[in-house]
């Protein structure tokens, strides 16, 4: 009985020891492979792929950027972070995140793996917005990305001072490349002021406001759709009437925040011959960078107003 017990104990100790050795060896073997060779490159993360895209435009060859929210076919509002995301974030030296509760999972992961050297750019703070700002889709605001890109260049300068001139030159190139988009917005605003628009969800509201459009869909309804809760029947009827009574010139349809109700609203718009413009939370890839994506959205809205053309998917 006693020998039996001590045998079990000995075996357990041996098994645990082997396990520990195994884990130690694999850690030693794996670590240099993933960290080595790229020592001079800054590891960075954009919580959303549009921020990751701009960050890689500013950082160029000295930055290796990955994005967390990058699938334009899913709803980012219902995203659940996985263990691999936590692993990626814990390694990053520079992080750009949206804030306003859009990517609060980032704050949790960052808190779980503290690193005093890591730099975090929260777009909400760059713009000086409160956490309860009703519309989190900040990257659609024309003033957002120039301000964020500036902070990105500044932080990159600090992380790699020897390449400061390179980052600053990239920043100038980026700012210049926004011109066609900003011009298109200004032109639309001058030519078609107060264009009445219906939406499902507030994703493009900032852009529509910049274009001088009137969003006639009640914000409470937009927020209900965004948050995936039941909208009031009054609002559903109101939204339907925007189409059947031809009160709007176009309908911006969020292709990522989709449910049975948004689909039936889209059908209502189509049967009333209101042009539909598909809009996105996440930058559609491949084929677009931030600037060309934003310009494509404005062009799609413009051709909906000028030629009543629908652009369901950009």
């Amino acid at each position: 009985m006693t020998t039996n017990r001590s045998l079990i104990a000995a075996r357990t100790v041996l098994a645990v020891a082997l396990l520990v050795i195994g884990v130690a060896i694999s850690t030693v073997l794996i670590r240099p492979a993933s960290a080595g060779g790229r020592a001079h490159v800054i590891v960075a993360i954009g919580a959303e792929n549009e921020y990751a895209n701009v960050l890689s435009q500013i950082g160029g060859k000295y930055v290796s950027v990955s994005a967390i929210l990058k699938n334009p076919n899913t709803d980012p509002h219902t995203f659940e972070a996985s263990a691999s995301v936590a692993e990626e974030v814990s390694k990053a030296q520079l992080i750009v995140q949206n804030g306003v509760g859009y990517d609060s999972f980032m704050n949790n992961i960052e808190a779980a793996s503290p690193n005093s050297k890591r730099k975090i750019i929260t777009v909400q703070d760059v713009l000086g917005l409160p956490t309860d700002a009703p519309n989190p889709h900040l990257w659609y605001k024309p003033t957002t990305m120039p301000a964020v890109a500036k902070v990105m260049a500044k932080d990159l300068d600090k992380l790699a001072p020897s390449h400061a001139a390179y980052f600053d030159a990239n920043l100038k190139t980026f700012d210049a490349s926004l011109k066609p988009w900003l011009t298109a917005i200004a032109t639309f605003k001058a030519k078609y002021p107060h264009t009445p628009v219906a939406v499902t969800e507030p994703v493009v509201d900032y852009l529509l406001q910049a274009m001088g459009a009137n969003v006639l869909t009640p914000f409470v309804f937009q927020a209900d759709i965004m948050n995936g809760v039941d909208p009031a029947p009054e609002d559903i009827t109101l939204e339907d009437n925007l189409f059947t009574k031809h009160k709007v010139k176009l309908f911006c349809y969020n292709q990522q925040v989709v449910d049975a109700l948004t689909t039936s609203i889209r059908h209502a718009a189509e049967s009333s011959h209101i042009p539909v413009v598909g809009v996105y939370e996440t930058m559609p890839t491949p084929g677009y960078d931030y600037q060309t994506w934003m310009l494509a959205e404005v062009k799609a809205i413009e051709s909906a107003v000028t030629t009543a053309k629908s652009t369901q998917k950009i």
């Binding site: 899913t74 709803d75 509002h77 219902t78 039941d230 009031a232 029947p233 009054e234 009827t237 925040v257």
Partner: protein, 301 residues
């Protein structure tokens, strides 16, 4: 300032769809519910709602209507439960708990896959708590057809079902196939759970199934009036719930309506509480305490 029917109520198409689907599901649920309570199968109803959750969330993954998922999984679950033997199932509480836990876990997997593979906003809300104002009018035909079939089957097996509910031994002695009747009833129960899941969500479907039936059995002394009262209570709770949810839009300055499922379930609960008040009970119950079963035997005989 405030009206019972706030402006636009009767012309609102979401309200009309909700009224139609709500009434049909409430009637089927209430009638099936009366037998469910009599047969002591409330637990089976709850188990089927867990299985329906799996089906509803899986339906999104395969691009089907949630109603198809609710009904499909419910019918499969009902068949499996009857094959195992529901009576024995109730005894095996550990195994049942683990199987139902697994079904709910599968639902969690499907909901995760739904939201990570495609844009399915509000899917958890719709499956678990219902979304009657956002139902597609094209679901009405399927709801009506399933209801008619279910009520038709119940009408055909009415007497044998009643007898085997009250006394399985007596029913078997009279040559009734208790097993077949039990299976048919489980299928009817699965449909009722599916329909009430579409109305108030799978988590709350048990309330619509059991609540009006239990209240009606407290208030009435024979089966026919219990069925009628249960159906009426179910429809009343659903319709008044819809009216209150519609009106709640005007209660707050923020123009934010409150969820309809809450109102429906709250009204059912309130009705059940009121029916238990001594004053109500004294007036309705007969000198013999076990009134319902007693009088039901008379109906059956």
């Amino acid at each position: 300032m405030h009206y019972l029917f706030e402006p636009g109520f009767f012309s609102s198409s979401p309200v009309r769809v909700a009224f139609a689907i709500g009434a049909v599901s409430a009637i089927v649920s209430a009638i099936v519910g009366v037998f469910t309570v009599m047969r002591g199968q409330s637990f089976a109803g709850h188990a089927l709602s867990d299985v329906a959750t799996t089906g509803g969330s899986g339906a999104f993954f395969f691009n089907l209507s949630p109603l198809v998922g609710f009904l499909g999984a419910g019918v499969l679950g009902a068949g499996a439960m009857e094959a195992v033997g529901v009576q024995r199932l109730r005894g095996r509480d550990v195994a049942t708990g683990i199987v139902l836990g697994f079904a709910t876990g599968l639902a969690a997997l499907f909901l995760y896959l739904d939201t990570t593979k495609s844009a399915t906003t509000g899917v958890s809300q719709q499956i678990l708590f219902g979304s009657i104002f956002t139902l597609d009018p094209s679901t009405i035909p399927l709801v009506v057809v399933m209801s008619v079939i279910t009520l038709g089957v119940l009408a055909v097996i009415f007497r044998p079902l009643l007898l085997s509910s009250i006394s399985p031994d007596l029913a078997a002695a009279r040559g009734i196939s208790v097993r077949v009747i039990g299976l048919l009833f489980m299928l009817a129960l699965a449909v009722a759970v599916g329909l009430s899941s579409i109305a108030v969500g799978s988590l709350l479907s048990t309330a619509l199934l059991i609540g009006p039936a239990a209240t009606a059995l407290r208030l009435t002394r024979n089966l026919r009036s219990a069925l009628i009262v249960a159906g009426a209570l179910g429809v009343a709770a659903t319709w008044v719930g819809i009216i209150l949810a519609y009106d709640s839009f005007y209660w707050f300055t923020s123009s934010q309506g409150l969820p309809v499922s809450f109102f429906i379930v709250a009204l059912i609960f309130l009705g059940y509480l009121l029916s238990g008040l001594p004053a109500v009970r004294r007036r309705t119950s007969s000198p013999t305490a076990a009134a319902p079963t007693h009088s039901l035997e008379r109906v059956a005989g």
